[in-house]
């Protein structure tokens, strides 16, 4: 049972899912002109898309077929683990003319990952 649990944990760990990623604007030198926020939780997707694809991996029909083909022919790659749902954030910043702007930027935060 312990071995099975370990295997399952290993499999879960490796399968496609969302991971934490905090983007600190000071790391890339953007804090000089971005007033707020100082950074944000962007997240990222990483992991395997193994055969057979589980339901929660938000696969497309194409990804299911590609994974099936990969199971019989390893020359064909598995489906990729990518963001399937993204949300916007607002940034308050000074532009190149020192004007203050509040702008909404789409697709900045990963909400969900899947195999595509």
């Amino acid at each position: 049972q312990a071995t099975l649990r370990k295997q399952r944990r290993k499999q879960n760990k490796a399968s496609c899912r969302r991971h934490d990623l905090y983007v600190d604007f000071s790391d890339v030198g953007w804090n000089e002109w971005i007033v707020a926020p100082p950074g944000y939780h962007a997240f990222y997707c990483q992991g395997e898309c193994p055969f057979p694809l589980a339901d929660h991996l938000n696969s497309t029909n194409h990804a299911i077929v590609q994974t099936l083909v990969n199971s019989v022919n390893s020359n064909i790659p598995r489906a990729c683990c990518v963001p399937t749902d993204l949300s916007p954030i607002s940034l308050l910043y000074l532009d190149e003319y020192e004007k203050v702007i509040l702008k909404n930027y789409q697709d900045m935060v990963v909400e969900g990952c899947g195999c595509r």
């Binding site: 030198g29 308050l92 190149e96 909404n104 697709d107």
Partner: protein
């Protein structure tokens, strides 16, 4: 590294990876940098000075948005309902201070007029301005020191609570060489002079015309009528000019502010209400 949006470390690592010739690497990096700039709607990396001022109103709007749907933060008290409605449709909110070198102040006995010019050339062509507000700060009127007061302190204006002022906002237009520009009334309000607060005026029609190129930006004229004029200091309570503002340090946060609400066709509005995850 023309703009500097890519950190130097990242540039160096990519160049030293040896995947391409140095020239190719430089070209790829510059292309990527252009994409970054385009994503932010910038022409080059902003390099604001230490003296750059972020208006409190913009911070309030930002906090209102960031708490939206989470803590139920209400709109700033000074934000008009029309501004809230405008923000709910806009994905870009810009703020502008007027060009002080181009202001023209005139003060007669019962009337103060001020001409403002806001440089709106930084608004990109693809951005459609749906609304704009001109925000003017006015301080409560303090009655003059009473003649029998030993302290010489001015009393709050409760004694002059009947004092009313009218603020008219005009759009200026006409030929560039004309001595007397023509003016069209955009918004007007009768205000009680016993309260300190920001007043928001709807100047959407003029700004929409200017930014779309349909008419030339000649600026605004603010007219303050104080019919019960009798005290010399009265015209000073509407903060339309640095010269009427006694505390120079606070001028940056009390000076007139033009706020535009626009949409560039990309994505949701700033005050878009998001469902809780």
């Amino acid at each position: 590294g023309a703009s500097g949006l890519i950190p130097e470390v990242g540039r160096r690592k990519y160049s030293e990876s040896g995947k391409q010739s140095p020239q190719q690497s430089e070209n790829f990096l510059n292309e990527f940098e252009l994409r970054l700039l385009n994503m932010f709607g910038l022409k080059r990396k902003p390099n604001p000075s230490k003296h750059a001022v972020v208006p409190q109103y913009m911070l309030d709007l930002y906090h209102m948005h960031s708490a939206n749907g989470e803590h139920g933060t209400k709109r700033p008290r000074s934000m008009g309902k029309h501004a809230e409605k405008a923000a709910s449709r806009a994905n870009t909110i810009r703020s502008f201070h007027h060009e002080e070198a181009m202001e023209a102040l005139a003060s007669l006995k019962s009337k103060t007029t001020q001409q403002f010019y806001f440089n709106l050339t930084s608004v990109p062509e693809e951005e459609l301005i749906t609304s704009a507000e001109l925000r003017i700060y006015r301080n409560e009127v303090q009655s003059p020191p009473s003649s029998n007061s030993s302290s010489g302190q001015s009393a709050p204006s409760s004694s002059t609570s009947n004092g009313l002022h009218r603020i008219n906002i005009y759009e200026l237009f006409g030929h560039a060489g004309a001595d007397q520009p023509l003016a069209r009334l955009l918004d007007t309000r009768l205000v009680q002079d016993s309260v300190s607060r920001w007043e928001s005026f709807d100047v959407s029609p003029a700004v929409a015309q200017w930014t779309s190129g349909k008419s030339h930006n000649r600026g605004f004229m603010v007219e303050v009528l104080h019919p019960e004029e009798g005290e010399e200091h009265r015209h000073r309570h509407v903060r339309v000019s640095r010269s009427l503002h006694q505390d120079q340090d606070s001028w940056a946060q009390a000076r007139p502010l033009l706020v535009t609400y626009g949409h560039d066709g990309r994505g949701d509005a700033v005050l878009h209400r998001r469902d809780k995850r």
